[in-house]
Subunit: 94 residues, 4 copies
């Protein structure tokens, strides 16, 4: 459990970095900086968010999903597996 909390703290820290990055991009726009530089900064943020999603998914698979799949409720197991398929499908579309 403390391992899980540790993960969350790391993830929150990463999101704070992303938040600062986005404020920086707002400044770039206010200062009318070069569009391509701005787009590249947005793409860097998206790459950071991909990393954050992957960390959260990894934690989820090793905790909630494992519990549900080992559990006795077939509907709950189906639900949890379907969610993985859905986030994978959305990831493909981003």
């Amino acid at each position: 459990m403390s391992a899980l909390e540790h993960d969350h703290r790391e993830t929150i820290q990463r999101l704070k970095t992303v938040e600062g990055h986005i404020r920086g991009i707002q400044k770039m726009l206010e200062n009318d900086q070069y569009c391509i530089d701005i787009i590249q900064q947005i793409q860097a943020v998206q790459s950071a968010l991909n990393k954050i999603s992957t960390i959260i998914l990894d934690g989820h698979l090793n905790t909630c999903l494992t519990t549900a799949v080992k559990g006795d409720d077939p509907q709950e197991r189906q639900r949890v597996l379907r969610e993985i398929t859905e986030v994978f499908e959305t990831a493909n579309k981003l």
Copy 2:
């Protein structure tokens, strides 16, 4: 098991369609058709491949992954979960 085989037959059929689509794109290039039309056809193929990956992942979660997570081998379980994280991470980069 027959359900699994059925899925495979559907997936193979979808891949045959993709194969025909790609031959069509080759023809478009040979006939020097408009570049943007060609790029849009390639993007349609990529969308079809996303769908195929999602179908295969869905089958995998409900069979191999479920078996491994319920099983007695913690290393095997770790391996199977790590693979899901990896294909998710790669999906984010495509």
Copy 3:
């Protein structure tokens, strides 16, 4: 030029919304909310960022790129076109 400024204001507004969204996701993590819900919120942010990039690119094509392509400096023209290819290539990898 005022049209361009207008675009920038809209884009800055959209980035402020994204910034608020990211703070919301931090709260979700602090409150230990369900991982899949968090991942879906991150994916919503990524979708919003895709839209923002597209708006900025659209403005760039109609201003800087058009000026460079019409201009007399072949090196500058090459540079501007190469940048478009690069952001497209990176977009494919996100």
Copy 4:
């Protein structure tokens, strides 16, 4: 013009490789190979298609788009620039 034809020949060759790759993936499914290995091969195909799109876009920018932007028809110029925005937007969603 011969440079353009050369590009097309390289692109067609890359598409033939992709076509063979897709037939290989069909074989993997027929032989009931491991799902994750199959998904990884599909992701490799998608990466190859990204590269092909990028090559075609690069050619397009340096020929058709440059001609249209330098040309006298503002509607044609708008159309060509809008297409770039559209393929970029779709690339973000794949």
